[in-house]
Symmetry: C3
Subunit: 272 residues, 3 copies
């Protein structure tokens, strides 16, 4: 088990001691664990952003990877610490929805409420469960402890408010889920949503609208249009994205998570 | 020795080549070293901030960890490169106070001035001792070289100007030491300072004041108050913190390191 | 081959899932690879900045290190994915000049266009070759696959527009190549350029001018002047730098990459 991979996704920020302290605790329990940062720069307390990032990255790791995620504004309150065992992975973190999209994508087998304090640090601070509970549990999992040894199964767990797109009269109504580091607007509309709701529509037949801007036709990738042009495309996770060639769509359009996005057949609108 | 852990705490910033170059040198000397970033985002040249972060994270690492820290505005001047051997660790870095709080917390055994150039890179740049001196020394330590092989014991070393709280007439006068990535204001007043100076005072009996704001009673953790409310609590390192629920106390109060903080028994003031 | 080092230099940013996804793919192929972040904070799409950072860091890694770099605004367009084998290393990334300065500094042996899809992910997104092509190729290289197994030799590859200094009438005309995280202005004028073009000139005899400011004489390191003073010195890579003691030269002078810098003998100008 020495080469066990544990990934870390947190909102601890890069400049403080928190990620370091958590890593120290984990290496104290399993010095052979291979700690891989996904990010410590989730916007603070932004559970949805953390959930999207974790879901986009987790699936690419090898079987038996342990995914530890801590975006935990409710630390020390009644929200439970949990683990979720899935087909290939174990996820560890707070019961606030953070782990669920990534776990569901890998099929959930069971959810366990972490209650066996034998696997925690001896003293639990009410403000830093990453260091005192989640980190130690992840490290003990990497040493081979089975999920059921950490506590009782949990029947009901918190699912995130992750809005899905709706469809009406040949229009798909979605929204921006997440702005990536390039300023690309990642929406909640997938390639599958479009092929299901607008069957037979080729990428060049689609019209995407956001904030009063209309984008005719999808492109394949970022660099194919003139610099500064707003484009739409399917990104690397299969979601519809709005991008600006060599620029930031978030800045150019003044758009943020929650912004409405509509997709329809261009021909139907007659606007082109 | 292959699994030796070396932690890194610097102000090199994430976007440049400096941390990478230092890691390359270390892996050239000990390819089996396990390099763990605490942070490379200490505010530039801010020795006190670096010292606080290192002290908060270092103690959670397993025995025999080597802690390398470089916040070194005096690089290439007369300040000495040193190592400090403590009960469980070896600290390596500049003699400017950076290492001392973390080292003192683990009991200092000896301080050595790094002078044996056998353990340095062949050519020493006057501007980058992290790469040319500190990194190589840490890597050689991780291969098993004893502290005394790096130079002569140093009797006097620089201690940081780390202000402690003062007590007068039932008031504890302290200050903000550090603002963490959540905007929490971490003070230099510890749980112990309060129990010593205000014996028998329960958390709910305390009044904390900062910048004209009065906070009555301490809470247990961040998420228990209404959003936007300013609270005081003992943070994960045992220090008194000022926090704003789901917000940034630094922004809300316009407070920075050095800001005065006072603690007293609420009853005594009669202000409530 | 288990302990193979793969360095990562990208513009993916720290807050998103992209670096994590790429690491996951690589660890899936070679769980024993040792992944070392140089940086994920290259300014987005800034190939020249990425090239300078990679060249400054890569050379310090041990022989057989694989350097993976992805700053790739042309992803999915006609630009080729390549690897460059050098004396000590293999570089993997897009054919846009990013890899060339670092590779040239280590002597290029051959350049190969990556075409053998056996070493790619089964499905190639047009927007994320770091995850789908470059990462997998680097991981397979770390398992021992030879450079020639990835595709055919490439005779012509893109070289970056990396301006060199020019010399006229005893003046060296250069420019700022890069602003480091301390705000130091790193120029394209090397120690060698100066000793060649102004033979016999001692550091104290040189005059450096930038944006109307004249700096008389070079110093050895950052911390030797009064706080706030603008100085010039040879930095840790041998390039002429403009720095402000305990401050940021970029801010103080309002200077950015591309800013003109002139060096001459101070005596010749008679301006002192």
């Amino acid at each position: 088990m020495k080469e066990s991979i544990i990934t870390l996704t947190t909102d601890f920020g890069a400049s403080g001691p928190y990620a370091g302290a958590m890593k120290g605790v984990m290496l104290g329990i399993n010095p052979g664990a291979s700690l891989v940062d996904i990010t410590h720069e989730v916007p603070q307390g932004d559970i949805l952003h953390g959930a999207v990032v974790l879901a986009a990255a987790a699936r690419y790791f090898p079987r038996k990877t342990i995914h530890l995620a801590v975006v935990d504004p409710g630390v020390g309150t009644k929200r439970k610490p949990i683990l979720i065992e899935t087909e290939n992975y174990v996820f560890v973190g707070p019961d606030n929805g953070l782990l669920v999209p990534a776990a569901e994508a890998d099929r959930i087998r069971r959810v366990v409420a972490l209650s066996n304090s034998r696997y925690f640090l001896p003293e639990i601070s009410p403000t830093f469960h990453g260091r005192d509970i989640f980190g130690p549990v992840a490290a003990h999992l990497s040493l081979g402890a089975g999920p059921s040894s950490f506590g009782e199964p949990l029947e009901r767990y918190v699912t995130p408010e992750m809005p899905g797109p709706t469809v009406k009269d040949g229009h798909i109504f979605g929204e921006v889920l997440y702005v990536d580091t390039f300023g690309n607007l990642i929406t909640n509309i997938s390639r599958l949503d479009i092929s299901t709701s607008l069957p037979g529509a080729a990428p060049e037949d689609l019209e995407v609208s956001i904030k009063g801007a209309y984008i005719s036709g999808l492109v394949d990738t970022y660099g194919v249009s003139r610099s500064g042009l707003t484009t739409a495309l399917f990104g690397s996770t299969g979601a519809l994205e709005i991008a600006v060639t060599n620029g930031s769509a978030a800045k150019a359009l003044g758009a943020a998570p929650g912004e409405h996005v509509t997709v329809r057949r261009a021909a139907e609108g007659g606007r082109r």
